[in-house]
Amino acid sequence: MPEDWIAILESPLPTSRALDFVTDPRAGGINIFLGTTREETSTGGKQLLALDYEAYPEMALSQMKALAQRAREHWPILKLALLHRIGRVDLAEPSVVIAVSTPHRKESFEACRFLIDELKKDIAIWKKEVWSDGSGTWVHPHSS
């Protein structure tokens, strides 16, 4: 898959390079999604400072590659970048960048939406909320 750039990175995600990567003269549409750390106040009045991501990198990467392959089976994707950051991600910074180029715009939206929805479901990456009082909370679905 030379047309896919799939990576787990410890440094700030290179959104501009993702855009450059998917730019293609065969494309009429490019869609980019960034999932960013949103400020939050806990019920107890603590402020969220950052999110801290941890991966099982070998497994997460192979899951991300399989996911990209599934997207390619549904949409005529020209190029695709799927980047996930690990480590501390401050407020307003992206933990995920997805960029997709397709011949027509509709497909770029659909494929990008599919990739983020599926990425959220089942990739071996976990996040911990880091709060202003120094506490940290792992986020697990359906946990108390």
Partner: protein
């Protein structure tokens, strides 16, 4: 036999480490290994029923037989790394 155990997220915090080595009888299953872990690391015990298992980076179920040198990863429920 010896199995390498990988722990992540809340399990890693509770165990105080991301990697463990487990000595098991030959022919032991994933479920048996997890029971042994729950006894040796009681801090993880209440969370273990909620994890999924991967052996050598492929999802498996509790009845899967382990082999010497296997990498057993305990996979907590994933948050997907993103807001809802």
């Amino acid at each position: 036999m010896r199995v390498h155990v990988k722990l992540f997220a809340i399990l890693r915090d509770r165990a105080g480490t991301g990697e463990l080595s487990l000595h098991l009888h030959d022919g032991e299953t994933v479920g048996g290994a997890v029971s042994a872990l729950a006894q040796q690391h009681t801090s993880m015990a209440d969370f273990l029923p909620r994890v999924a298992y991967a052996v050598n980076r492929e999802y498996v179920n509790a009845s899967t037989i382990l082999h010497d040198g296997d990498e057993l990863a305990l996979i907590p429920p994933v948050s997907g790394g993103l807001d809802a």
